[in-house]
C-alpha cells in the first residue's frame, strides 16, 4: 500500500469513529468563518455547488438556502451518513451525498459554479492534485472557497505546529503556508480575489479529546509547548496552560479564488 493510500485509510478510519462528534462540534457548525464563506462567495440561486470533504455537513447546510443544488462529498461513509441524518432532520432537500476522494473527483468537467472545502485539506496527501481537480470540475469563472490551517512562513514555527497537530490527529497530513497555497492555486488556473487569516482559540482539552485521546496525549502536548521557543508560543498563544481551562489558537486561511474564464 502506498503512503497516500495509507494516509487516506487512516483519515477514513479516524473520522468513521469520530463522525458524530464533528456533526455536533460548535467549532465546525457555527462562527465567523461560515458567515464569511457566504459573504465572499456571493452565492446565486441557480448555482450548482460541490462541498468537498463535507465532514459534519456544516458548510453545505449553511449554503443550502442560497444555491440550487449541493453535492456534499467525503471520503468517509460514516461521516456522510452522520451528515445526511443531520441534514434530513432539518428538512433540507437540496443536498445530496457522494462518497468521493478529493484528489479523484467523480464528476464531469465544468459542472459547478462553486466549490467549497472547509478545514479538511490538511488531510489530503496530494493538495496540488486536489486543487487541479477542483479546477477541472468548476465552470470557467467558477468560484473556489478554501479554508484550512495555515502554517507560519517561519519554518521552525511551521514544523512545530505540524508536529503538534499530528500528535493529536495522526491523519493530519500537511498544512501549507499562504505562499504555498497561492502557488498551487495560481498553477491550477485560479485568480485569488480574497484572502484573510482567521485565528481560532480552542479549549485545549476538548480539542484533544475530540480525537479520542486521554491524559497521556494531553500531557505530551502540554510538555511540548512548555519547552517551545518564544516565537512558537507567540504563534500558538497558550492561555492558562497546564490547567483544565487551557486554550491555544490555531491559524486558518480563508481564500476566495475564481477559475480564469
Amino acid at each position: 500500500m502506498s503512503d497516500s493510500k495509507d494516509s487516506k485509510k487512516l483519515s477514513e478510519e479516524r473520522y468513521s469513529k469520530f463522525a458524530q462528534g464533528y456533526v455536533e462540534s460548535q467549532t465546525h457548525a457555527k462562527g465567523y468563518d461560515l458567515d464569511q464563506f457566504i459573504k465572499i462567495s456571493d452565492p446565486q440561486p441557480d448555482w450548482q455547488m460541490l462541498d468537498i470533504a463535507t465532514g459534519g455537513g456544516h458548510t453545505a447546510l449553511t449554503f443550502a438556502p442560497h444555491v440550487k443544488n449541493i453535492i456534499a462529498s467525503d471520503l468517509t461513509e460514516n461521516m456522510l451518513l452522520a451528515a445526511e441524518k443531520n441534514i434530513k432532520e432539518k428538512g433540507i432537500e437540496n443536498i445530496t451525498f457522494r462518497q468521493a476522494d478529493a484528489e479523484n473527483l467523480p464528476f464531469d468537467d465544468e459542472q459547478f459554479d462553486l466549490v467549497t472545502c472547509r478545514i479538511a485539506a490538511h488531510h489530503f496527501p496530494n493538495a496540488q492534485k486536489f486543487v487541479q481537480e477542483t479546477s477541472r470540475v468548476l465552470k470557467p469563472g467558477g468560484r473556489f472557497l478554501l479554508q484550512d490551517h495555515v502554517l507560519s512562513e517561519d519554518k521552525s514555527v511551521a514544523d512545530f505546529a505540524e508536529n503538534f497537530e499530528t500528535l493529536r490527529d495522526p491523519s493530519h497530513n500537511h498544512a501549507f503556508s499562504l505562499s504555498a497555497w497561492t502557488h498551487m492555486l495560481v498553477h491550477a488556473g485560479f485568480e485569488i480575489y480574497h484572502q484573510e487569516e482567521i485565528i481560532k482559540r480552542h479549549p485545549f482539552i476538548d480539542w484533544v479529546k475530540r480525537q479520542g485521546h486521554g491524559q497521556e496525549v494531553i500531557s505530551e502536548l502540554e510538555q511540548l509547548l512548555d519547552n517551545a521557543s518564544e516565537t512558537i508560543k507567540a504563534w500558538l498563544s497558550p492561555l492558562e496552560w497546564g490547567t483544565p481551562d487551557a486554550s491555544f489558537v490555531n491559524h486558518h486561511i480563508l481564500i476566495g479564488s475564481d477559475k480564469k474564464s
Partner: protein
Amino acid sequence: MVSQELLDILRCPNCVQETEGLLEYHQEAWLICTECDRKYPIRQDIPVMLIDEGDKWVSTKKEDLPIPPPSK
C-alpha cells in the same frame, strides 16, 4: 433512488481525468464505467465513487453483481 439529473454529471473517478468516464446505471444499485469496467456500488442512496471500491468489482460480471450491494 438517486436523481437522474445528479447522476448525469457523475463519472468514473479513474477515467474522467483522461477520457469521458461515462457510467451505466445498473438496477438502481450500481454505476459501471463503460471504459474501465470498474463498478461502483450505491449504498443507502450514496454512490461510493472511490477508485479502490470500483477495483474490487472490476472482474465481477455485471449479471453477478449483488443487488443490493453488500454493506462495507
